[in-house]
C-alpha cells in the first residue's frame, strides 16, 4: 500500500510538472512551426498569455472534467518520473484519453473554441482510438507477451527495421494531427472563446502524446527528457511543412496513423 501511494504521488507530481511545462514546450514548437510563414510570429511564452486571457472564472463542468481525465492520463506516462507502464495501464491511459472527449461532449462545450465542429471531433475519436489501440498491439507484439515492463527497451533495440519505422511514423502521424489541432485551437479565429481548463486540457493532451511518442516509439538511445525535446523539434518541423503546403492535414494524418500502425504489425 505504501509503495502504491508513493507511486501515485510521484505520478501526480509528474502530471503537475507536465501541466506547468506544457505551454512552454508547445510554445517552442509553435514558434518553430511559424518559421517561414508570413505575419507576426508569437513569442515562446504566448500560450501562458492565452491561458491567462481565457475564461478562468467560468467553471464549466465539461472542460474541467476533460482536464481531469487528461491529467490522470499524464500521471500514468512511462519514463520521466513515472515507472514503466504495463499493457493494462496502457489500455487505461488510452481509455482516459478517449473518455476526455466524451466528458467534454456530455458535460459542456468541450472543443467549442477549436473551430472543429463537435460532430467532426467526435467522429475523429474513432480514428484516434484505433491508432492508440494499434500502438498497444505494436508494443505488445514486439514483446510477444502481455507482461510489458521492458517492451520500450526492446522496441528501442529494433530500430532501423521496416516495421519499427512504420510504427514510429504511424504514431508520429497521430502526434502531428494532435499538434495541428492544438495549433488551430490556439491561433484560430475563435481562440478568444476558449475556457481555461479546456485550453489546458488541449495543451496537456498534446504533450501526453508527445511524451508517449518519445518514450515508446522514438527509438533513439537517449534519456527521456532529451528524447522528448528531439521529438518536439521534429513535430515543429512537421507542422511547419504542413503549414507551408497549406494542406488540411488533420484528417489525413488521423487516417494515416492507424494505416501505418496496421502495416507495421503486418510487416513484423
Amino acid at each position: 500500500m505504501k509503495f502504491l501511494m508513493i507511486n501515485i504521488g510521484v505520478g501526480l507530481v509528474q502530471a503537475l510538472a507536465l501541466t506547468l511545462a506544457a505551454p512552454l514546450l508547445l510554445g517552442i514548437v509553435f514558434r518553430l512551426a511559424r518559421i517561414g510563414r508570413s505575419g507576426p510570429a508569437d513569442g515562446l511564452l504566448f500560450l501562458y498569455g492565452r491561458l491567462g486571457a481565457a475564461r478562468f472564472h467560468d467553471l464549466s463542468l465539461g472542460p474541467t472534467a476533460e482536464f481531469v481525465c487528461v491529467f490522470l492520463a499524464a500521471s500514468m506516462l512511462p519514463g520521466f518520473l513515472g515507472a514503466k507502464i504495463t499493457f493494462g495501464d496502457f489500455t487505461l491511459l488510452t481509455a482516459l484519453l478517449g473518455m476526455a472527449a466524451l466528458t467534454a461532449a456530455l458535460y459542456g462545450e468541450g472543443d467549442g473554441g477549436s473551430g472543429v465542429p463537435q460532430k467532426q471531433g467526435l467522429f475523429e475519436a474513432g480514428l484516434f482510438c484505433a491508432a492508440l489501440f494499434l500502438s498497444i498491439a505494436c508494443r505488445g507484439f514486439h514483446a510477444m507477451s502481455t507482461m510489458l515492463p521492458d517492451a520500450a527497451f526492446q522496441f528501442r533495440g529494433t530500430y532501423l527495421t521496416g516495421d519499427t519505422e512504420l510504427a514510429v511514423l504511424g504514431f508520429f502521424s497521430l502526434l502531428a494531427a494532435e499538434g495541428e489541432g492544438a495549433l488551430r485551437y490556439f491561433t484560430g479565429t475563435r481562440a478568444d472563446a476558449m475556457t481555461f481548463w479546456g485550453a489546458l486540457a488541449r495543451l496537456l493532451r498534446t504533450v501526453v502524446l508527445l511524451m508517449l511518442c518519445a518514450e515508446l516509439f522514438f527509438p533513439v538511445p537517449l534519456p527521456s527528457g532529451p528524447r522528448a525535446l528531439v521529438t518536439a523539434v521534429l513535430l515543429a518541423v512537421a507542422l511547419a511543412v504542413l503549414g507551408h503546403f497549406r494542406l488540411y492535414a488533420r484528417r489525413i494524418l488521423l487516417t494515416a496513423a492507424p494505416v501505418l500502425l496496421f502495416l507495421s504489425i503486418l510487416a513484423q
Partner: protein, 281 residues
C-alpha cells in the same frame, strides 16, 4: 425492426448456430466465430453512430446492444481459438471477457431505461460508453489481453494479421461508441430543450440504477475468486483480481479503481458546484 439491422442480427444468429452445432470449438469454426463477432461489432458501431446523430432512442439502444453482443461473440470466438492450444489459462481470459460483455448487455444496456429517460441520462451514457470502472471497460481490457495472448499460443504467420485486425476494429468501434454517446446526448438534449420536460421520479432513478448496475462488481468478483480458488477446480483460475485491476505486469503502478474513483468523486463535486452556480445566477 428496421431493415438495416438485419445484417448484424443474422451474424448473431449465425454465431449462436456455430455454438449450438459445436462447430465453434473447431479451429475453423472459432475463426469464423471471431470474424462474425468483429463484423457485427463494426456494423453495429456504424448504426450506433447514425442513431446517435439522429437522437433515435430505440435505434441507439438496439445498436449498442448489438455491439455488445458482437464484442461478446468476438471474445468467445477467440476463447474457442485458444482452446485449441495447450495453455489452459489463456481461454479463461477471453471467456471471462465474453461474460463481462454479456453482463454489460443485460445490466447497463437495458434499452428501455435509456429510451424512456429524459432527465439525467448522462450518467447512464457513461456506462453505455464503457468508460473505466464499468463492466464494458473491464470486458474490453480482458478482450485486449486475450487477443495479445494469441501469439504466445500460436506462432504462425496468420496470427499477425488477425491481431492487427482485431486491435484496429476494437479501437475504431470503441472510439465510435464514445463519439456516438456524445452525439446522442447532444441530439436528445437539444430536442428536450425545445419540448416540454416533466420531472418524473422513475426517469431520474433509472439512469442511477443503470449506472450502479453497470459498474464492475469488484467485491463480488473478489468473493467469487476466493470461492473458486478454495474449490480446487481442475482448470486454472488465475489471479483474476490482479489481472483486472493491476494490469498484467508486475510493475502495475496504479490501481485503475483508485483513479476512476478519484475521477467520479471530482465529477460529482464539480457537478454540485456548477449546479449551485447555475441556480444562483
Amino acid at each position: 425492426m428496421k431493415r438495416f439491422y438485419a445484417a448484424p442480427i443474422v451474424l448473431l444468429v449465425g454465431a449462436c448456430l456455430l455454438f449450438l452445432t459445436g462447430w465453434a470449438f473447431t479451429f475453423r469454426g472459432s475463426l469464423a466465430l471471431t470474424a462474425c463477432g468483429l463484423l457485427e461489432t463494426l456494423l453495429a458501431a456504424r448504426f450506433l453512430w447514425q442513431a446517435g446523430c439522429r437522437g433515435d432512442d430505440k435505434g441507439f439502444s438496439g445498436s449498442a446492444a448489438l455491439q455488445e453482443a458482437g464484442y461478446a461473440v468476438t471474445a468467445a470466438g477467440l476463447g474457442c481459438l485458444l482452446l485449441q492450444y495447450p495453455n489452459a489459462a489463456l481461454p479463461f481470459v477471453c471467456f471471462s471477457a465474453a461474460a463481462l460483455f454479456l453482463a454489460q448487455l443485460v445490466f447497463a444496456l437495458s434499452g428501455v431505461v435509456i429510451a424512456t429517460s429524459r432527465t439525467g441520462y448522462r450518467l447512464a451514457l457513461f456506462c453505455v460508453a464503457g468508460v473505466p470502472m464499468t463492466l464494458g471497460f473491464a470486458g474490453l481490457w480482458q478482450l485486449c489481453q486475450g487477443t495479445l495472448s494469441l501469439p504466445m499460443a500460436e506462432a504462425a504467420a496468420w496470427v499477425k494479421p488477425l491481431l492487427a485486425v482485431v486491435f484496429a476494429l476494437l479501437g475504431l468501434t470503441w472510439g465510435l461508441r464514445l463519439g456516438a454517446c456524445g452525439m446522442y446526448y447532444r441530439s436528445v438534449s437539444a430536442g428536450a430543450a425545445r419540448g416540454e420536460s416533466r420531472f418524473r421520479l422513475a426517469e431520474a432513478l433509472a439512469p442511477v440504477l443503470n449506472f450502479v448496475l453497470g459498474l464492475f462488481p469488484i467485491l463480488l468478483v473478489a468473493q467469487a475468486e476466493q470461492v473458486l480458488l478454495s474449490a480446487r477446480l481442475p482448470f486454472p483460475v488465475g489471479d483474476y483480481m490482479g489481472l483486472i485491476w493491476g494490469g498484467t505486469g508486475r510493475y502495475a503502478i496504479y490501481s485503475p479503481l483508485i483513479l476512476a474513483l478519484l475521477f467520479f468523486v471530482l465529477l460529482a463535486v464539480l457537478d454540485a458546484v456548477s449546479g449551485r452556480r447555475g441556480a444562483a445566477s
